[in-house]
């Protein structure tokens, strides 16, 4: 086979290393092929074996997560996204994915294409995206570069998602110096599909034609997957050409055309072209089907002239899909795409054997056993060296009583409410379309999770993204547990039963033993909590190498939680106070321990102590009892205690409603600093009409769930014993003004 042209460099170990492969991997490739790879083949292997596509350094740990559940309709990792039965003949496809590295160098396009990519994963399965969420991490807001990144990321999400027409219903944003230079941009999409109408990402049926549909292919995003698999450095700016460019209009057409084309029944399989474009879609579909595929790259609609096979295969031009059609019915598909003014071109076919063959200019440019490229096939899998980080002993044994606590709780409260981690994110949310598709019951902001109704059903979905990276940094295992437990608690607070998660695992360089140890521990913690709460993992994404020149980010395994609301008219719960005279209760575990709290960070600029306490068995009980109480109408408001402690929980309930409360926390035994500011897990505040308070108490007694009556709703001030006495208007001003003020600097 003569595949070399004058322009192509000679394939050597050095070139392989330049492509991000190591010597062992280069040898393995030669073994698979029985010869030295061509330049094009080297490019193909390098992207398919990049961390981003192969999960080579993470898959062995990921496989330990619980992936079984009655409601799961496909196994994790088998299709583009998880699929969960939500009743009424419907299923929910959902997934969360990162676009961190692109967003670090080109925030607008990085975030926009992150949104586009995750929606494509969902509609590739035949599901219509109905909601989207995101989870963002940035450095300190005092840094102008951070404000630039935030502005760009929000505009990117806004412009892409708003045009595509899917509402943002929830999300979270945290700021911490640990994310300086390496922001995290994780996007989640949630879609709905009827049972029996799902599509599969498979290539099978010898002789079946293969089509490329959607946008034309250009030179953008070449080696994006490889870029995503290395650390951000000062040279990263030079990788801007690795960042893809998004076109939400084409994506919208692609959505409508794909769903319409699926209805013809002429589609055997389809897969979106995300990372590593034609390469990954063709190899993964082929490996799944167990047959071969031949593609003639000259037939690919191109945006620019003179593209080589290498470039065509590695391009990450957005808004494209690969479709395998039933032989003889390809025209039906082409007709649909033409109606939507999109390309749909036959570029090859499914063939006998197990090889992927890519032709260009009449020559074979690459001929590779498909299975050797993919995860679960020939792609390498590594167990890395793991060492417990030394800093853990230091932080976990820190003497928190040595802090000199300020006396004025009113002042502390205002500082907490102004902390960008707690302050209202309205400035962000109002730039997103949150109501399109007319399903949004609880949008982002004033609710513990986003809630949408499902048209044609009494049910709804509650969805939430969550992770406190600070906790995972201080105690990787418990931090991993908390990420899952808190996301589930948020969904319960909105009136839903948590059923499954997707996850986005953002960590540092896995070749650093301390990072790898943290990764293993955090996943172990997530697994503990997923098993306890019966919320299996349906899939997700791994983003490693999240480092800046100063070191790794906080380990941040973001959880995308899916919950089901059984009765959308009667079960949906919100956190704001409802009526004056309603009684305020605390339900849950002891409020103690200031480790990892926003209080320590905002007031003492300290990230130390052990992660907040969590007893998973107790957590399960709390969530079950709370959900039952909500479903039976025994409470009329519920709000989780998280960042800032019970003091911010009570403040938010007042701010969201504009009504105050007079409460006492003295029965919650402990130091007042612990009681007010501890972020100990498994605690919620609920309210109930005065005349129904006894009934609630009887119910909680019967379930053996600890609770305390704190006081009553009413008035225009929030009063907490002799510690806090503030008008709700002033609290709201601090809460609402912090981020707009910072962004107008």
């Amino acid at each position: 086979m003569s595949t070399k042209t004058i322009k192509e460099p000679e394939v050597t170990l050095d070139l392989a290393i330049e492509h991000g492969l190591n010597e062992e991997e280069f040898e393995k490739i030669k073994e698979f092929l029985g010869r030295t790879p061509t330049f094009t083949e080297l490019g193909v292997y390098s992207v398919m074996w990049s961390e981003h596509c192969s999960y080579k350094n993470s898959i062995l740990e990921i496989k330990k997560l619980p992936r079984e559940g009655e409601q799961l309709l496909v196994d994790a990792g088998e299709e583009n996204a998880g699929l969960v039965d939500i009743g009424d003949g419907l299923a929910c496809a959902f997934k969360i994915e990162s676009h961190n590295h692109p967003s670090a160098v080109e925030p607008y396009q990085g975030a926009a294409t992150g949104v586009g990519g995750i929606h494509r994963d969902i509609f590739t399965m035949g599901a219509r995206p109905v909601a989207s969420l995101n989870s963002l991490r940035f450095g300190s807001m005092d840094n102008p570069r951070v404000r630039y990144l935030l502005d760009g990321v929000v505009r990117g999400i806004s412009d892409y998602g708003n045009s595509f027409g899917v509402p943002v219903v929830g999300g979270e944003i945290y700021f911490d110096e640990a994310y300086e230079g390496n922001p995290l941009v994780n996007a989640m999409s949630v879609g709905i599909v009827k049972h029996g109408e799902t599509a599969s990402a498979i290539a099978e049926g010898i002789g079946n034609p293969v089509l490329i549909v959607g946008a034309s292919t250009g030179r953008d995003g070449i080696h994006g997957a490889t870029f995503a698999s290395e650390e951000i450095s000062e040279e990263s700016e030079a990788k801007r050409p690795s960042v893809q460019v998004g076109d939400p209009f084409t994506e919208k057409l692609l959505l409508e055309a794909s769903l319409e084309a699926l209805k013809t029944g002429a589609i055997v399989g389809l897969q979106d072209m995300g990372a590593a474009g034609i390469t990954s879609s063709s190899s993964e579909m082929t490996a799944r089907g167990g047959e071969g595929m031949t593609l003639d790259l000259d037939k690919v609609p191109m945006r620019e002239k003179g593209m080589s096979a290498y470039e065509l295969l590695l391009s990450e031009s957005q808004e494209r899909m690969l479709i395998v059609a039933e032989k003889g019915r390809e025209q039906e598909i082409i007709d649909v795409f033409e109606k939507w003014d999109l390309n749909a071109v036959v570029i090859g076919e499914v063939v006998e054997g197990d090889k992927l063959t890519y032709l260009k200019d009449g020559e074979v440019k690459a001929e590779i056993p498909a299975d050797s490229l993919v995860l679960g096939g020939g792609a390498p899998q590594y167990e890395r060296e793991a060492t417990r980080p030394k800093y853990l002993d230091e932080v976990q044994n820190a003497d928190l009583s040595a802090f000199n606590h300020p006396k004025d709780h009113n002042e502390i409260l205002h500082k907490l409410l102004k902390s960008p981690n707690i302050a209202s994110k309205r400035w962000v949310h109002e730039q997103y379309d949150t109501t399109v598709r007319t399903n949004t019951v609880n949008g982002p902001g004033a609710s513990d999770s986003g809630v949408i109704r499902i048209k044609g059903s009494n049910r709804g979905l509650a969805v939430k993204t969550d992770c406190n990276g600070r906790y995972v940094y201080l105690n990787p295992r418990r931090g991993g547990q908390i990420a899952v437990a808190e996301a589930a608690r948020n969904v319960v607070c909105s009136g839903a039963k948590p059923v499954a998660i997707s996850n986005c695992l953002n960590f540092g360089n896995p070749y650093k033993p301390e990072v790898y140890w943290t990764f293993k521990e955090a996943l172990g913690g997530m697994g503990d909590a997923c098993r306890a709460l019966s919320t299996p993992v349906t899939g997700g994404n791994v983003s490693l190498y999240n480092e800046n020149p100063k070191g790794a980010i906080f380990p941040t395994p973001v959880i995308g939680m899916l919950g089901i609301v059984d009765d959308i008219e009667n079960h949906v719960m919100t956190p704001g106070f409802k009526n004056k005279h309603d009684i305020v209760y605390y339900l849950g575990a002891k409020r103690r321990g200031l480790g990892g709290s926003e209080y320590l960070k905002a007031i003492h600029n300290a990230t130390t102590g052990d992660a907040p306490e969590l007893d998973l068995d107790f957590e399960v009980t709390l969530q079950n009892v709370l959900l039952e109480a909500i479903r039976e109408g025994k409470v009329n408001a519920a709000h989780d205690i998280s960042d800032g402690g019970i003091i911010t929980t009570l403040s938010e309930m007042a701010i969201f409603s504009g009504v105050g409360a007079n409460v006492s926390v003295k029965e919650l035994n402990g130091s007042i600093y612990d009681v007010l500011y501890s972020e100990a897990q498994s605690g919620v505040v609920v309210t109930v009409p005065r005349e129904e308070a006894r009934a609630l108490e009887h119910f909680l007694d019967s379930k053996d769930l600890p609770y305390e009556e704190l006081g009553a709703v009413g008035g225009s001030r929030l009063i907490i014993d002799e510690f806090v006495d503030q008008s709700v208007v002033d609290l709201k001003e601090s809460y609402e003004s912090a981020i707009p003020k910072a962004m107008s600097q």
């Binding site: 505009r155 806004s158 412009d159 708003n162 045009s163 595509f164 027409g165 076109d247 939400p248 209009f249 084409t250 919208k252 057409l253 939507w340 003014d341 949310h429 109002e430 730039q431 997103y432 379309d433 949150t434 109501t435 399109v436 598709r437 007319t438 399903n439 949004t440 019951v441 109704r453 048209k455 959308i568 008219e569």
Partner: protein, 233 residues
């Protein structure tokens, strides 16, 4: 014979399903989608041009949609007195097509705005507001990047003389304040009709405020007015 509502789909329309749901499921009216390449509107009694980003709106909102084949038919339909309602991107398209006067600029603060706003009803003698009283305040969602309505002084005088302003952005009490004009529109204008009164363009989304579960039913009254005037359903 029952009357029929048509919802136009341009490439990039994304409130088409919402408008359809509002008409068909909430109002119970016979409703059909109209593809932008069609040119026959016979049998249609009310036209809705929904929101979204027609053709991506990369140039200027609605600037390309007005050249779609269906727009000639829409202009004829409107000129013959057929009722047309353009919401958000639909309003922008009606401006570009010359069925309504004025133009849309980017929001004053150059950011997309999605939130609930209050609008004051300025006329109750239009087919779109006959079930309302002048001065009533509705709470409706907005969701747009280019909703800053502009018209020159002469145009504004003419709008006022002909009583063409149907909605203005206000606070919850119906007062125009500095903050109530969310996007910088001339004279706080949120919606206008043509001189004949059969073509309405408005930036807020009444079709997103039709059901209690979603927080507000204030949008419904516009369609109730219209349906009783047109004797639909």
């Amino acid at each position: 014979m029952s009357k029929k509502i048509g919802v136009i789909i341009f490439p990039g329309s994304n409130c088409d399903h919402d408008a359809y749901h509002a008409m068909k499921s909430v109002m119970g009216a016979e409703t059909e989608f109209l593809w932008h390449k069609e040119s026959d509107l016979s049998g249609i009694d009310l036209l809705l041009i929904p929101g979204g980003f027609s053709y991506g709106d990369y140039l200027r909102s609605g600037a390309i949609a007005r050249f779609s084949p269906i727009m000639n038919a829409v202009v004829d339909f409107a000129k013959k007195g057929g009722p047309v309602m353009g919401i958000c991107n639909g309003f922008q398209i009606l401006l570009e097509a010359g069925l309504l006067p004025g133009a849309m600029l980017h929001n004053e603060k150059l950011r997309f705005i999605c939130k609930d706003v209050h609008v004051r009803v300025e006329r109750s003698d239009s087919i779109f507001t006959s079930r309302l009283s002048k001065g009533d305040v509705l709470r409706l969602p907005v969701s747009h990047g280019e909703g800053n309505y502009f018209i020159d002084d002469a145009g504004l005088d003419s709008l006022k003389q002909n009583d063409q302003v149907l909605f203005r952005y206000t606070d919850a009490e119906g007062k125009i304040t500095e903050d109530s004009n969310i996007n910088g529109s001339v004279d706080s204008i949120a919606g206008i009709v043509n001189r004949q009164g059969n073509v309405l363009g408005m930036m807020p989304h009444p079709e997103r405020a039709m059901e209690k579960t979603l927080g507000s039913e204030d949008g419904k009254v516009l369609f109730e007015s219209l349906f009783s005037e047109l004797q639909i359903a």
